[in-house]
């Protein structure tokens, strides 16, 4: 359900995700260049493409602290692309690394809900100074040429700006206009029951003829949170919009996003409503039927609230399926592979805050499996395997753990080979790894690749260490089993936090079955 993404702006979510992707791509190319100690035009073009996308995204999201240095970096790249083809390896690597680190830290600040502490001007100046240095090495005519071409291209870029809602943390912005009108309705009349909040809620609830769909659930949820506002509401109509943004329930005040803690508080409040309902049922006894319509509404709103909050704090794994399918089809096209993807357990719910890390790790793992695991069509034919390779991603959940299993029917990992390459790379641990399990672990060490030939997408030794890092940040671990010629299975397991995931589900069912 799209409009249920509760705690942050969906555009912002996508932007941050894309930033992460672009940074990973930067790192990949940085590493590729490191192997050869040079940047050829293909690499410069790729880096240009990433920079261009990053600039456009950051500009659109009014994320100037990233847009400013990125724009300057792009201007630098124009020089390399159009005139100055010889790139000083060390100097350029240094600058790219600084940009990467900078973008990473800015994205992290956003994720932590902090304001950017720098405007990026310093880095911008550095890039521009370097550009001037390059310019001084070529003729004035050439410089003009580059500038002219750059100006022309920049002029042609579409202008796009996005502004998230003023109450970013408020679920209100997700509500449809109808929902808004509904909540606004009681405000247009002077509130007659100022000192009785419960009365106000009831009035609102009765006013809503159906709270069946989740959309209207959003509305009922709003009326709940908003009652403070409605009680105080004596401002003229046109002040309303301003007023809304400044008045939320106390603990939501001044927040740029709802945190897990907030959701937990909200969750507790909502579940206690269920308790109140039970007590009312008990107290009214036979009378209950007489007020069935009112109680019915109350119950439905309760359920809708619970449904909403469950949706808000968890998200089904199926959410990232399109992204995974896209990754596979991109890889298929680029590598001229044929590989299918089967995803199982899409309905498994996970904590929303895990999604970014898990999705990043999965994309890495998928790329790795297709690039190195799945053999070429020709080779598969010779081996007597079906022409189309198959990757299976299965999500499951036990009482304690969330598990992802990613298996392919590819070539498997040759442990001796892996060890040999780790030794060549001078990886210290390789000298002590003896059992196949220990050797497999080597692939998670930065710089160690599972494959000799390095593809476009993966295998430059960046990737699996990032995957492991992501998973470990969530308190989980990853293990590999592989059989040469048959395939490889990666298993990721992450312990569940208390208070999220499964619990809400069971409570919800319990809640519903009472009726």
């Amino acid at each position: 359900m799209d409009n249920m993404t509760a705690n942050s702006d969906p555009m912002m979510e996508i932007f941050l995700e894309e930033c992460g992707d672009l940074v990973t791509q930067y790192e990949t190319y940085l590493h590729m260049a490191g192997e050869k100690k040079e940047y050829d035009l293909t690499l410069i073009n790729e880096i240009f493409r990433i920079t261009h996308t990053l600039k456009a995204d950051a500009t659109m999201m009014l994320f100037e602290c990233v847009a400013v240095p990125t724009r300057a970096f792009e201007r630098l790249l124009y020089f390399y692309r159009d005139e100055c083809s010889i790139v000083n390896f060390d100097e350029f690597s240094d600058m790219l690394t600084r940009l990467i680190d900078y973008v990473k830290s800015e994205v992290q600040s956003i994720l932590n809900g902090e304001a950017a502490d720098t405007d990026g001007d310093e880095l911008k100046q550095e890039f521009l100074d370097y550009r001037d240095k390059l310019a001084s090495g070529i003729s004035v005519e050439q410089v003009e040429n580059v500038e002219k071409k750059a100006k022309f291209e920049i002029q042609d870029e579409p202008m796009r700006f996005y502004i998230g809602s003023a109450t970013d943390a408020s679920p209100e912005k997700k509500s449809t206009k109808t929902a808004k009108k509904k909540t606004a309705a009681p405000k247009t009349k002077p509130a007659q029951v100022k000192d009785n909040a419960a009365e106000e809620i009831k009035k609102d609830a009765v006013g809503q003829k159906s709270a069946k769909s989740s959309e209207t659930a959003g509305a009922s949820e709003l009326s709940g949170i908003d009652f403070e506002t409605s009680l105080r509401d004596e401002q003229p109509e046109d002040e309303k919009q301003k007023d809304r943004s400044s008045s939320e329930i106390t603990w939501l005040k001044d927040k740029s996003s709802i945190t897990g803690d907030d959701l937990e508080k909200l969750y507790n409040l909502v579940t206690s409503l269920g308790g109140v309902e039970e007590r009312m049922m008990a107290r009214f006894g036979k009378e209950y039927d007489r007020y069935a319509d009112v109680f019915g509404e109350f119950h439905e709103i309760n359920i809708a609230l619970l449904d909403w909050i469950t949706q808000a704090s968890t998200v089904p794994m199926g959410h990232i399926s399109p992204k995974l399918h896209k990754t596979v089809s991109e890889m298929n096209t680029r590598l001229e592979r044929k590989c299918g993807l089967v995803i199982e357990g899409e309905s498994v719910l996970i904590d929303r805050t895990w999604m970014d890390k898990i999705s990043g790790a999965l994309v890495h793992m998928l790329r790795n499996s297709i690039d190195h695991g799945i053999e070429s069509k020709e080779k598969r034919k010779i081996l007597g395997k079906p022409a189309e390779g198959l990757i299976k991603v299965a999500y499951s959940q036990t009482e304690r753990e969330f598990i992802i299993e990613l298996s392919d029917d590819g070539s498997g990992i040759d442990v001796e080979n892996l060890r040999k390459r780790a030794l060549e790379r001078g990886v210290y641990e390789a000298e002590f790894a003896e059992t196949p399990e220990e050797i497999m672990e080597l692939m998670f060490i930065p710089g160690v690749s599972t494959h000799e030939k390095e593809g476009i997408y993966s295998g430059r030794g960046v990737g699996m260490d990032v995957v492991k890092h992501n998973i470990e940040e969530l308190g989980g671990n990853i293990s590999v089993k592989s059989e040469i010629g048959k395939g490889t299975v990666f298993t990721v397991s992450i312990p569940l936090k208390s208070g999220t995931n499964g619990e809400e589900e069971s409570l919800y069912e319990d809640f519903d079955s009472r009726r």
């Binding site: 555009m11 996508i14 700006f161 996005y162 998230g164 809602s165 003023a166 912005k173 206009k177």
Partner: protein
């Protein structure tokens, strides 16, 4: 500067009018159809709008349709990309596909309600609109 607002919700309309009147001469319409008509009239009279703010969910003609109509009118009148009116969608919808669609159809800005007025001014400036000078 001249601004056209299309907004069916009374409160939002009044809010936008009050906010933008500080910077420009503002005309207000209540749906997409009226907005497109007003826009065409302005083109004919040679007093073009610099900025158009379109709500998306409106009766008769919605904001997306109005945006399409406005862009095609400009084409008919031979106005090129660089000098055409800036369009900002002002809506409670922030579905990613909706945002993409609007940008693809040629709006310059997309602002989710309730409008963050500070940022709104920032993007107006970035769009080359004069918010400091005389109306």
């Amino acid at each position: 500067m001249r601004i056209l607002i299309a907004e069916d919700d009374f409160a939002s309309r009044k809010f936008m009018l009050k906010f933008l009147s500080k910077y420009a001469e503002v005309d207000v319409t209540v749906d997409g159809q009226e907005a497109a008509a007003a826009f065409e009239l302005a083109l004919e009279d040679g007093i073009r709008y610099d900025l158009v703010c379109l709500d998306i969910m409106m009766p008769n003609m919605n904001g997306i349709e109005a945006l399409t109509a406005i862009r095609s009118l400009e084409e008919q009148f031979g106005i090129d990309r660089s000098s055409r009116a800036r369009v900002i969608m002002t809506t409670a919808l922030n579905d990613v596909n909706q945002v993409d669609q609007a940008f693809d159809l040629g709006c310059e800005g997309y602002a989710v309600k309730p409008i963050d007025t500070d940022k709104f001014l920032v993007i107006m400036e970035k769009m080359g609109l004069d918010i400091h000078g005389d109306k």
